[in-house]
């Protein structure tokens, strides 16, 4: 009744090709943005931001990045954790001032970047590393590529553990984000206001989603999808596989790097590479896009929300309401997540995004389905 194209006429190409062609959809999108930007910052507290909103926004960026690579370009990657680590460590090095040593002497030291640029540099450095590890994708495909990216995961974690330069020679090998702010408002450190951290991450998430959406429906995205669907056919119609695959790796790694930088600097404040960016993280983000929906922007958000909220919801229901022992609830969570992945793979391989699409189709015809 409300959700329909009928009566909604486009008079320009731009109107015809917009992301949300249906009026109801468009306004819903504006309302969500309005609530996210204007309402939520005034009502959130520490708990909501640190336990739910920050992880959701940050994982959403990572899922967007991985979805570009796996969902749109069809290159399976298990290196997400390692790439997030690159983002985190680059951000740390840039925010504390990169020092270049040669032969035991300090050659020069870059000035400390502000937090916004540091996060951005986290993305840029990860994009470079991602391209480097994307090179094998030109020769190897499928499972073999997954193994090659797995090597990236282990190599990067080993590197950040082994080379003391990356953690500024601290005794423990941990990196901790010093206090930094933008326009006089603290963004990192322990005394940051919840709304500031939230808005900072929200800004990156919205921009990343906007960029991802417009890349994937433009020429670049069509090339990625052509490579995904059949690389030989794509090559014959004139898609350069080298460029297509490497741009997918670069863009994907850029997003993952940003999320790694935010994960370290804004969310946790201190990380240890082996613990925070292990192989588990790679799988977690992969599960997000599988459950959320491969090749869908909305799916990245849905998957991230689902896997961030589920453990907290289970904990609140199981421990706080029902009073179950904490270990039973923790085990139950593993069972439920595992079960859901199997159910999704069998019943709905396109994930939550497909459920959403089907719901929208139904809504278009409602209340007269015939």
């Amino acid at each position: 009744m409300f959700y329909r194209e009928a009566g909604d006429f486009s008079t320009t190409y731009a109107e015809d090709q917009q992301t949300f062609p249906i009026k109801f959809d468009r306004y819903r999108y504006y309302v969500v943005l309005f609530i996210a930007i204007v309402v939520i910052p005034f009502v959130v507290n520490d708990y909501w931001v640190n336990s739910l909103l920050l992880p959701f926004l940050i994982y959403a960026i990572a899922a967007l990045g991985l979805n570009i690579l796996v969902g749109y370009c069809g290159q399976v990657s298990l290196g997400t954790g390692g790439f997030m680590a690159v983002g985190a460590y680059s951000c740390y090095k840039f925010m504390t001032g990169i020092d270049i040593w040669w032969g035991g002497e300090l050659l020069f030291r870059l000035p400390e970047f502000n937090i916004f640029l540091s996060v951005l540099m986290g993305g840029v450095m990860t994009a470079l590393v991602g391209v480097l590890f994307g090179l094998p994708s030109l020769r190897i495909k499928g499972f073999y590529l997954a193994v090659a990216t797995l090597a990236a995961q282990f190599f990067l974690v080993w590197l950040f553990n082994r080379v003391a330069w990356f953690y500024n020679y601290s005794a423990s090998g941990q990196i901790s984000a010093p206090e930094r702010g933008l326009f006089g408002v603290l963004i990192t450190g322990p005394s940051v206001a919840p709304w500031a951290a939230y808005l900072f991450c929200l800004f990156f998430t919205v921009i990343c989603a906007y960029v991802a959406r417009n890349l994937t429906r433009g020429a670049a995205g069509r090339k990625w999808m052509a490579i995904r669907d059949m690389d030989i056919a794509a090559e014959i119609i004139g898609v350069n596989p080298l460029r297509a695959k490497l741009t997918a790796f670069a863009v994907s790694s850029f997003f993952i790097g940003i999320s790694g930088a935010l994960f370290f600097a804004v969310y946790l404040g201190a990380v240890e590479v082996g613990e925070a960016f292990s192989i588990t993280k790679s799988f977690l983000v992969l599960f997000m896009i599988i459950i959320g929906g491969l090749g869908s922007i909305f799916g990245s958000f849905a998957g991230a929300a689902f896997l961030v909220l589920l453990p907290v919801a289970l904990k609140v229901v199981g421990v706080d309401w029902l009073g179950w022992p904490t270990d039973i609830v923790a085990h139950l969570q593993l069972v439920i997540v595992g079960l859901l992945i199997i159910v999704f793979l069998i019943a709905e391989p396109h994930g939550i995004a497909q459920l959403w699409r089907v719901a929208k189709e139904k809504l278009r015809l409602w209340p007269f389905p015939h």
């Binding site: 090998g173 010093p178 206090e179 450190g189 404040g269 925070a276 270990d327």
Partner: protein, 427 residues
Amino acid sequence: MKYKLGTMAVAALMAASPVMADLVFPSLSYRTGPYAAGGIPFADGYADYFNMLNERDGGIGGVMTRVLECETGYNTEKGVECYESTKGEGSLVYQPLSTGITYQLIPKTTADNIPMHTMGYGRTSAANGEVFSHTFNYPANYWNGASGAINYLLGENGGDLKGKKVALVYHNSAYGKEPIRTLEELASKHGFEFKGVPVDHPGQEQKSQWLQIRRDKPDYVIMYGWGVMNQVAVQEAANIRFPMENFIGIWWSGSENDVLAAGAAANGYKALTFHGVGSDFPVFDDIKAHVVDKGNAAGAGDQIGTVLYNRGLYAAMLAAEAVKTAQAIHGEMDITPAMMRDGMEALEMTEAKMAALGLPNFGPEFNVSCQNHGGDGLVGVTQWDATTKTWSLISEFAPSDMDVISALITEDSAAYAAENKIEAGCK
């Protein structure tokens, strides 16, 4: 039906929501994951002691205690979630039992004015209370442990370690890397050769590390391990026939879990400690009478008297004593986290106090002050007997080399203060 569900939810909420005026002790435990074998006994001991205080004495100073358990799985993200969800309930002191979570919480607890006690783990330089105002790591820290092990070896060798080789098998994380600096300093001081052998999380595969040890033939091996890494290391040491008497673990590598798997081969393995072992203390009778016999034991109730259970109990006892101290300082029974901090900073553990609590000779005597949040750093050595399946204390609680450690603590805490723009000093 809807109405019924609603009332049920409200009833459940009411049952779960806090009764006012109680002393809240959050327990960031891990009963799942790769380190659960260590997390379970500690959490049980921590909960049982407070439970016993409630049943026997009606709480501390007449105010009931409440343990808020939150499962972290040794995972820092879950640790943050646990911290945020429990800090609003008036939590008095955090004990995360994880070095990773500790690093996370040091700035957060300081900003929120809640003390944290990292007993024998965490950031060693937090012993400098002038910089780390809300973090305590009494009675001993990692560097005391490293020095304690070397001191013990010095004693074994008539005070001379020149030309000896000492290897450190460590968990390749913030925790395991902590003692390296100290051991390097001690190596140059005493003239022994030091070599670090890292083991990556979780440490199930250590063949190459022990092959390296077999090739290098160190005289002594010190281990900083946790979880499954410990039992694998003990088994591998047995496989290469490394003499167990020359193999010393830190206190996190010295529980029953770590040696039982290797059976008779683990006989003679040594571990450091900062508290007593076994259940031969009067307080265990009270725990049996007031907690176990009433069916209220935490967890499965099968851990009582194990090394890590005792450590959890010791942590709870020190927290309870700090509460008493705080109550005495502020003249108020229902204390706040800020008062708890004052209590921890003024804590004095004497033999008379411990005997009165039913824990005679259970731990070393020590005093906490604003300058020194780390206590006196007395370290003892225990040894495993595989036939009787018991640990026994084979040395006194002996002092560690504070000359070396103090210098390192000052240096590391000064670096932290500079990085975070903290003005050192006592308030």
